[in-house]
Amino acid sequence: MESLIILIPLALILIAVAIKVFFWAVDDGQFDDLEGPAHSILFDEPQRSKTSDIDQINNPIKK
């Protein structure tokens, strides 16, 4: 039972961290759209780039 004296405050610190992380997520705008992101994982991202393949080979630094 003595371990409670350490474990409970430890749990409190964890809660504080969890809330801090949550607040950060809210400020980051992660809760602004609650519908869209749920679907976005279903879409395949086509491999498209604004430069052609040849340009990419010649100029590999450019994305």
């Binding site: 949550f22 679907h39 395949d44 086509p46």
Partner: protein, 838 residues
């Protein structure tokens, strides 16, 4: 006829399909060139995936043209961009030209749209990042201004079938966002806190049951529970305390007062118990109660924000522009830049941007938005043209006489403000119940305390507290908002957007429904209703219509549209081609079909030698002749909406009085009233007349619902107890109404009445359940028989039941007439407008 549907927007296509587009190797049918162009643009961009992933059909697309391009170019002006475009990197960096634009996208129906928009735009030159928010339909586009003009991006959005408007993130919007984030933070603190406190509570309960927990540990756990519960009370529950304090200050017992007493009381008592090591602690109940209530309020808040956004989206249209003469050249400028004495060119179909005098020629204008008169009015050189009326016939020049606040429209707005001040308020059921409830609970608590102090003074405080916790109006305070939120969401999906809170609760007390005529009960556009062949005419009515349609296909006049729409259902008419067609402005049209010369128009134009009189005075009659031989009469009128008769009948059955209140001329109004079986009607009413008419009814104690669309209806919409605007109504009417019939289907109005009755029933059930539960628990608590855990479980259960009951409103299919196909995709309200301006 097989059921062919457009591959893009899924509206029915008349057989045989005329337009096709190739998607993944298959020719898919298309309903119109607009959808075809969009589908081709999507496929060309390699984005066919959209069609696989979408869960809702797209909206039908109106054709793009040069005109739109020109209008969008106004957005390239820096002074207009400053409202919604900001630098993407700090402004100090002088050579950077990366900017972020906030846009509101119209036409987003599901997650696939978001994907399509993001991928299509990101493939364009100069575009760096695009993010589209599915809930708010807001898009953030970061791009390089020197590489690509903003109008190009906007045009690309239009090209794949959406509409984009500048999203001016004003103060109100910023407030909504802040409120939303603050609420989520509060929810998080309450949720995480509740979970933690409940874990401690399990330890406390098991200790209490087995009775072998040393007091030191019990007190330790209590202290930590208090530490976790404190932020829940002071941070998460703060809005309840604030609202309760506000209620007390204005001497009004709302729902927040008992909520605050219960939360505050239980928390203080638990603190007391913790520090003096006796009694019970209620940290878990208090936290959970806060969490539940916040969840309910959050759902309410989200529904409110969604409608606020939708309502604001209605006003976020293209800034009106017009063609102004500058040094002998016409330039497209924003209407706001106009000054008196400017010369403005107005093309047919355009709205007139300011009051002005006609400089040359003649034309006819449609003033139905201002007066309710549905037939175009002839204007000669020197006549005054009013702002917001629509030019019908030819391009004309006007000299601006009045702009902005001096125009006729602005004077109607002043009337609107006056009407809003006199608007009667509607009392809310829940608030009335809450007042009584609070008074009763407080009385009972005092009584219980007084009673127990006589019997067992040391228990009196704890028993009184358990009475307060048990009667905690959690379910009671959720009862109404849960039902209203569900009903509002349901109506929105059916095409009726409720923009003010009192509509659902107020509808049930309405006993008088007043309709405007033009554009509300009628479609507001001319259509062909009757063909009367003259003696000696060898053609059938159908043939006559086809002949007329073939000629009118060459005209842009609204009357021509009446014929063309009529012949669309029938492909045969396309086989006839008129050649040599000539428009005679203000007179009619003439052309040659298969070698015969036909004329359609005014009697003195089509058959000048015969001097025929129209068969009736009502409506507009056109004469058709072949080689100067009169053939038949066409009657052109503004036809009724197909569901109007049925809707009026249903309203009568519900016992409502229906009145027709129009600015149009008496014979037309009388005929409309008769065909709809409306007994009360009033014609030739000015906006002022309409307002005083309903105010007189209100003085007699009637509750009035007004349905209208025009600018002339605006004051009366603002003055009615509840008002509804049609989806294609003027901006002003839509923003001043309490609800907008987005789908334009009047049947929804009768459905809304049905739904209100049901909503009220559900609210009553909820209130009855919540009160019943509290009343049943009250004597037990007063007798000192309820343990904290029982109070907590009972409370949670009763709240869940109330919410589940409210959600039944989402499935009330049988109440509502089936939506028809065109409505399902409800071609957005802008479609009608776009048709007029694009």
């Amino acid at each position: 006829m097989t059921d062919t549907r457009c591959f893009h927007c899924t509206l029915p296509v008349s057989e045989p399909a005329v337009f096709f587009a190739e998607v993944e190797g298959t020719q898919q049918p298309m309903c119109c060139p607009g959808c075809k162009a969009v589908t081709e643009a999507i496929v060309a961009g390699g984005l066919e995936n959209y069609y696989q992933h979408r869960t809702e059909s797209a909206n039908q697309v109106t054709d793009l043209n040069r005109r739109l391009q020109e209008e969008l170019q106004i957005y390239d002006r820096k002074e207009i961009q400053k409202d919604f475009v900001r630098p993407a990197t700090p402004a100090s960096d002088s050579q950077n030209d990366r900017f972020t634009a906030s846009l509101l996208i119209d036409g987003i129906t599901c997650a696939a749209c978001v994907w399509l928009l993001e991928n299509h735009l990101e493939a364009l030159d100069g575009v760096e990042q695009v993010s589209v928010n599915l809930s708010t339909h807001e898009a953030q586009i970061t791009w390089s201004r020197s590489e690509t003009a903003l109008s190009t991006l906007l045009l690309e959005i239009h090209r794949i079938g959406y509409k984009a408007f500048p999203w001016r993130a004003d103060q109100q919007e910023a407030l909504l966002k802040k409120e939303n984030r603050l609420f989520i933070r509060r929810l998080a603190v309450a949720g995480i806190g509740t979970m933690q406190v409940m874990m401690y509570a399990i330890a406390l309960y098991s200790g209490a049951i087995s009775e072998d927990m040393p007091e030191i540990y019990r007190d330790l756990i209590r202290i930590f529970s208090a530490i976790v519960a404190t932020p829940v009370i002071f941070y998460s529950a703060a809005p309840f305390f604030k609202a309760a304090w506000r209620d007390i200050k204005i001497r009004h017992l709302g729902m927040d007062v008992p909520v605050s007493i219960a939360i505050g009381g239980a928390y203080l008592a638990s603190l007391w118990a913790t520090f003096f090591s006796n009694g019970e602690v209620y940290y878990d109940s208090v936290s959970m109660f806060t969490f539940f209530l916040l969840t309910g309020r959050y759902l309410e808040l989200r529904a409110r924000h969604a409608t606020a956004r939708a309502a604001r989206a209605l006003t976020n249209l293209l800034p009106p522009s017009c063609l102004k003469e500058v040094n002998g050249q016409y330039e497209r400028v924003p209407v706001a830049d106009l000054q008196p004495d400017d010369k403005v060119r107005i093309l047919p179909g355009d709205a007139i941007p300011a009051d002005g005098v006609l400089l040359n020629g003649s034309t006819s204008v449609n003033e139905s938005m201002l007066t309710g008169e549905y037939l175009p009015i002839e204007k000669q050189q020197g006549d005054t043209l009013l702002c917001s009326s629509i030019n019908v016939d030819h391009p004309v020049d006007i000299k601006v006489t009045k702009v902005g606040e001096e125009t006729r429209v602005a004077s109607i707005i002043q009337l609107l403000q006056r009407a809003q001040q006199d608007k009667p308020a509607i009392a809310k059921l829940a608030d009335k119940v809450a007042g009584w409830f609070v008074a009763c609970v407080l009385l009972v608590a005092i009584f219980v305390y007084w009673g127990w102090s006589g019997i067992a003074p040391e228990d009196a405080f704890w028993i009184t507290l358990s009475v307060l916790v048990v009667t905690c109006p959690c379910a009671l305070s959720l009862a109404t908002p849960a039902a209203l939120t569900a009903a509002t969401g349901y109506l929105h999906r059916m095409g009726l957007l409720v923009t003010r809170g009192h509509v659902l609760e107020g509808l049930q007390s309405i006993d008088h429904v007043i309709f405007d005529k033009t554009g509300t009960l009628t479609k507001g556009e001319l259509s062909l209703t009757q063909v009367i062949p003259l003696d000696g005419c060898s053609h059938s009515q159908e043939q006559l219509t086809h002949l007329a349609a073939a000629m009118e296909a060459h005209s842009e006049h609204p009357i021509a549209r009446a014929f063309i729409v009529h012949s669309d259902s029938d492909q045969q008419s396309c086989q006839q081609k008129a050649c040599d067609v000539k428009n005679h402005p203000g007179q009619g049209i003439e052309g040659t079909i298969n070698g015969t010369r036909y004329r359609i128009g005014r009697p003195d134009f089509a058959g000048p030698s015969d001097r025929l009189e129209p068969p009736e005075h009502d409506g507009q009659w056109l004469l058709m002749s072949s080689n100067d031989q009169p053939l038949c009469w066409f009657r052109i009128t503004d036809s009724l909406r197909p569901e109007a008769v049925d809707t009026v009948q249903r309203l009568h059955q519900m016992g409502k009085t229906v009145t027709l209140l129009s600015g149009d001329a008496e014979p037309v109004v009388a005929a409309t009233a008769e065909s709809l079986d409306i007994r009360h009607w009033k014609s030739e009413s000015s906006p002022d007349d309409k307002l005083s008419f309903i105010q007189a009814l209100q003085k007699q104690g009637h509750k009035i619902l007004m349905v209208g669309d025009g600018i002339n209806d605006v004051p009366v919409l603002a003055g009615a107890d509840i008002s509804m605007a049609m989806g294609n109504a003027s901006d002003l009417a839509r923003t001043s109404a309490d609800a907008v019939l987005i789908s334009g289907n009047l049947a929804r109005l009768a459905d809304a009445f049905n739904l209100t009755i049901r909503t009220r029933k559900i609210i009553r059930q909820n209130l009855a359940w919540a009160l019943g539960y509290n009343l049943a628990a009250l004597p037990l608590a007063a007798a000192g028989m309820i343990a904290p855990w029982m109070a907590a479980t009972g409370m949670a259960l009763s709240s869940l039941i109330v919410v589940a009951n409210a959600l039944r409103l989402n499935h009330s299919n049988k109440l509502v007439t089936k939506p028809n196909q065109s409505e399902k995709a409800y071609a957005p309200f802008e479609a009608g407008k776009a048709g007029a301006t694009v």
